[in-house]
């Protein structure tokens, strides 16, 4: 009997050690995958002083009979300006500039433009999302990108999932933000935002133009500034 007990407990001990070792290995593996993704992402982002790209946004929502598809331009200028500008007057311009957030319809009048301002304190989920969208294109080692969130790196594909902290009110609005990276250059090619209420926003990014001359960028941002002011009625 004694010998059997020794065998059983000894076996359990060895199994526990082996399992523990596997758990440690899994954590290490996840960390390693995250480091790989961030290295790939930083490979492109670290060179970015400014960036202009074409973007196609698709919103799938139960409010509309069909998904809303719009095309436009993505503009980033270091350190803190990020703009998504839809083509045409029927779209909108999303502005993340420093601490300011706004969604301004392109055809907005002065009053409507003012209504588009989002107060960070009132909408923490919008602030969180805006900060992470901007960080996805900002130069850096990735610390800002993965700040204030949990991460998941799927085994397949070159993706990086950013998940809001569990205990925050953000989690009740956003399920995840997934970045798709170019496997060679590391540029962000697609961003998918899964909202908690079921809507899904897919931004497909193409034609990346990095580090444009300042004059060209100033011209684009001047148009954004004009939209921000609103049209006179």
């Amino acid at each position: 009997m004694i010998a059997r007990r020794v065998v059983v407990f000894g076996g359990l001990g060895v199994a526990a050690l082996a399992l523990g070792d596997r758990v440690v290995s899994a954590d290490e593996l996840a960390d390693k995958r995250l480091q790989n993704r961030l290295e790939l992402w930083a490979n492109y982002a670290k060179r970015t002083r400014n960036l202009v790209a074409r973007v196609t946004t698709t919103r799938e929502t139960s409010l509309l009979r069909e998904p809303l598809i719009s095309t436009g331009q993505l503009v980033f200028r270091a350190p803190a300006t990020f703009v998504l500008r839809d083509d045409g007057l029927a779209g909108a311009t999303t502005i993340v500039d420093g601490d300011e957030l706004a969604i301004v319809p392109n055809g907005a009048t002065v009053g409507a433009a003012a209504r588009g301002v989002i107060t960070r304190g009132e909408a923490p989920a919008a602030a969180w999302l805006a900060d992470h969208l901007r960080a996805a294109f900002a130069p850096g080692d990735g610390a800002e990108l993965v700040a204030d969130c949990r991460t998941d790196v799927p085994r397949s594909g070159y993706r990086l999932d950013l998940l809001p902290p569990r205990n925050s009110s953000i989690r009740r609005a956003i399920r995840s933000v997934t970045l798709h990276l170019d496997p060679v250059a590391g540029a962000v090619t697609e961003i998918v935002v899964a909202e908690a209420q079921g809507d899904r926003v897919r931004m497909q990014i193409a034609d990346h133009r990095q580090n444009l001359p300042d004059e060209e960028l100033d011209a684009i941002l001047a148009e954004v500034a004009a939209t921000r002011q609103g049209r006179a009625q």
Partner: protein
């Protein structure tokens, strides 16, 4: 300092300088003087029947001990200084749920889920008592959406009507679709299903009345979505109407019960144990409980500490074991009797009993006597707190008459029992020939007095005030601060009471007054919490019905449905808005709310006291120096606010004036007693001057030390004033009669008072420390003004007006 020893002067028997009526005087007092000044003498009477006196004393002491065998009844009495009508509701118990100590660390989200589940268990098992702190999010939003067109004001309705033309609606829907292309759209403040036209944003401040979190932290939320989940402070409202801390690690829950906070707490603790959640009391009941615990654990300890301090002073000065023990024994029985006679022991009573120990020493140490019989000093002390009968503080009003009784008891014990003890066991102390010949210094007195008076006048205008609405107890300071940081400050919550013969009428009245109170936000208040804005006034309903008919809402909404379809939207997705705007939800009447899903929340505000009353809570702004807001209902009637913060604000405005009145009353009473004892106007005026100088000096020092002054300190200020009157009376009398001055007598009584004050100051408790500090500082200043200021003033008066009484009787004792 000009003085000389008077050892060479042989004192008469009658003038023998004893610290108290000692056994050595028996022979001297045995034959009454011919002038009749010793016709009645308690000490002589006691010396003649010492064993009987001691027997009675011991029997009374044992009776008090037996009475207190189970310990005195203890209360927190944290609102004892507030007028009754301003005290917080006594049936509300705030419970704070947090992680249990032994809870395993896990995801913070799991803790939040556990807290919400635990709150759900309490709500289910204590269904009759638990009430939501805020309108439950879903129900509140549903109520507002269903009745928005009936609830909003006329101006807001006009604005909304202007936005419901075809062109405006088409623009609004176009704008909505444009904004939908932004990734931020779904997570910003938009709620397109509830409000596709963004009409709620047009309501401005009116819309924010229907949002719980309209507070100082985030500022008033102009255009906030009504019925949102943001709670007061940084909290958010749970689906059940409880408040959850911003980090999800604590949940605040309200129970209305007459069973008492401890019973409620114990039941809640049993209910949530399985969830790994801990419950603790917060708010007023918690402070009350902590104060009671403080009194229970440290009250008697503090009294013993004060007694030990007095013992040390007496032992150091008397250098006699029996004499010291006899006085301390007498004082202990006085304290014991006082505790036995009190209905309950609370922090204020403990402080006063500690003072009683320090100030009652006067009964044993009445050397230098102000008059031959030695009663003026006792009378001055006994009447010191009488002016508090005029005060608005119930606890001090009670002590205004309890204190003279306690002092009288002390004096009787020390002047009757003490001689009896010495007659039996001996050990009396005689201080023959130890006096000084003191010389008055008018110049110094006048200069010092005027400087201090000027400093006092300056300090009165610079006093920092601390109201009686906040009693700080160190043990719960952190918990209370968390409550304030995460949720709201219960001490800043005041209330208006709307009355009616039945609930519906009271709610109707609350609807009128609630709208008037809402005008206080954001200037004077940060939040108005009541059902008033959620109910339409009866008289408004018909008028609004006509206004809505003019708007032709059904046709407008059909047009909106068509616009939505034309723009590619599913119009059914906006059914919530379309049904609510059409007014299909019925009328927002008091009855409908009572019967509806918000009925449970409404219970928080309903009370019955003959009439039905509806409470509307107003959280006042952080500016404590602001006055009490004045609110008038549309019908012209005033809306009265009551609550601890209101009491404090009223008191702040008149505190300095009333402090002056109480001090002057005490000063006048003291001076009158001194005059009665000495029949010398000069001595009485000098004593009054010294009293005023002492109180001014104490106030100036408190101002310089940046110690806030408030109702809790008033008795201490009056007592040090009385101490100054006694010191001054003694010193002036000695100089007036050209007798040796027993400065040690004045100093040692001050030292006894200082010992009592030091015990409170050393307690480290915010509720006691300032009181002790006032007495420590005041006792030192009182003996200083008595010795250095009063004699000089008295001498000046003599020079100016001559003596105002006959030569001193030769038999007068010092």
């Amino acid at each position: 300092m000009a003085h000389r020893r008077a050892r060479g002067q042989p004192p008469t028997n009658a003038a023998r300088p004893c610290w108290y009526a000692c056994a050595a005087d028996v022979a001297a007092d045995a034959t009454p003087p011919t002038d009749g000044s010793y016709a009645i003498s308690l000490s002589r009477w006691a010396r003649q029947r010492p064993r009987r006196v001691l027997a009675v004393w011991l029997v009374l002491a044992i009776a008090a001990l037996v009475w207190l065998r189970a310990g005195p009844r203890v209360e927190g009495a944290t609102e004892a200084l507030l007028p009754l009508e301003h005290r917080a509701p006594d049936d509300e118990v705030l419970l704070l749920l947090g992680p249990a100590v032994d809870r395993a660390a896990g995801e913070p989200g799991d803790l939040t889920d556990a807290l919400v589940a635990a709150a759900g268990t309490i709500a289910e098992r204590m269904a009759d008592e638990r009430v939501p702190l805020a309108p439950p999010v879903g129900e509140a939003a549903g109520w507002f959406d269903a009745h928005a067109m009936w609830l909003i004001g006329d101006d807001a309705l006009a604005t909304i009507a202007a936005r419901m033309s075809d062109a405006s609606m088409s623009d609004a829907i176009g704008e909505l679709k444009a904004r939908m292309s932004s990734p931020l759209f779904g997570v910003a403040t938009d709620e397109p299903r509830r409000d596709p036209l963004r009409l709620y944003g047009l309501l401005g401040a009116e819309g924010s009345r229907y949002a719980a979190g309209n507070d100082a932290v985030g500022g008033p939320r102009q255009g906030a979505m009504p019925g949102g989940d943001r709670g007061p402070g940084r909290s958010r409202v749970t689906a059940a109407g409880d408040l959850l801390a911003a980090d999800g690690s604590a949940l605040l829950l309200l129970v209305r019960s007459r069973r008492g906070p401890q019973v409620v707490l114990e039941q809640a603790q049993r209910l949530v144990a399985e969830h790994g959640v801990a419950v603790e009391l917060v708010g007023g009941p918690r402070t009350e409980q902590a104060a009671a615990t403080l009194v229970h654990e440290r009250g008697l300890q503090l009294i013993a500490l004060a007694l030990a301090g007095v013992t040390a002073v007496l032992a150091g000065v008397l250098r006699r074991v029996r004499a010291t023990l006899a006085i301390v024994g007498g004082l202990a029985t006085v304290a014991l009797a006082t505790v036995a006679m009190l209905p309950a022991l609370d922090p204020w009573s403990v402080a006063i009993i500690v003072f009683l120990l320090g100030f009652s020493c006067e009964g044993a140490l009445h050397l230098q006597r102000i008059s031959a019989r030695g009663w003026p000093a006792a009378a001055v002390l006994a009447t010191a707190l009488l002016p508090l009968l005029l005060s608005p503080y119930p606890a001090w009003q009670a002590w205004a008459w309890r204190w003279p009784l306690a002092v009288a008891a002390g004096m009787i014990v020390l002047r009757v029992v003490l001689p009896a003890i010495h007659a039996v066991v001996g050990g009396a102390v005689s201080w023959e020939g130890r006096g000084f010949a003191w010389r008055a210094m008018p110049g110094l007195a006048l200069f010092a007095g005027l400087v201090v008076l000027a400093a006092g006048a300056w300090s009165v205008s610079s006093l920092r005030y601390r109201g009686a609405d906040r009693v700080h107890v160190a043990a719960v300071a952190a918990t209370q601060q968390r409550l304030i940081d995460e949720f709201y400050d219960p001490a800043a919550l005041v209330r208006a009471q709307s009355r009616g013969p039945d609930a519906a009428a009271a709610l109707d009245r609350a609807a009128v007054e609630g709208r008037a109170l809402a005008s206080l936000v954001p200037g004077e208040a940060v939040r108005v919490d009541g059902p008033g804005p959620w109910i339409a006034r009866r008289e408004d309903l018909e008028r609004r019905r006509a206004a809505l008919a003019e708007l032709k809402l059904p046709a407008r909404l059909e047009s909106l449905r068509a616009i939505l379809e034309a723009r590619g939207f599913r119009s059914d997705a906006f059914g919530e808005f379309l049904r609510g705007a059409a007014g299909d939800g019925g009328l927002p009447t008091a009855d409908a709310m009572l019967q509806g899903p918000l009925g449970g929340w409404l219970r928080r505000y309903l009370t019955k006291d003959g009439d039905v009353q509806v409470r509307t809570f107003v959280q006042l702004g952080p500016d404590v120096e602001a006055g009490v807001p004045r609110v008038r209902a549309p019908d012209g009637s005033g809306v009265t606010l009551v609550g601890p913060a209101v009491a404090a604000r009223i008191d702040r405005q008149r505190f300095a004036d009333w402090l002056g009145i109480w001090a002057l009353c005490q000063l006048w009473l003291g001076a009158f007693v001194v005059w009665l004892g000495t029949r010398s106007l000069g001595v009485a005026i000098a004593s009054a001057f010294a009293t005023l100088v002492t109180q001014c000096a104490v106030l100036a020092l408190l101002t310089m030390l940046r110690v806030p002054v408030g109702p809790s300190m008033v008795p201490a200020l009056l007592l040090v004033g009385a101490s100054a009157t006694v010191s001054a009376g003694r010193a002036c009398r000695a100089i007036d009669l050209q007798r040796p001055l027993f400065a040690t007598g004045i100093v040692v009584t001050s030292l006894c008072q200082l010992a009592a004050g030091a015990a409170l100051a050393a307690s480290g408790e915010p509720v006691w420390r300032p009181l002790g500090l006032v007495v420590v500082v005041g006792a030192v200043i009182a003996s200083g003004t008595g010795l250095f200021v009063a004699p000089g003033v008295c001498a000046m008066l003599r020079r100016a007006f001559g003596r105002d009484h006959a030569a001193p009787p030769s038999q007068e004792a010092p």
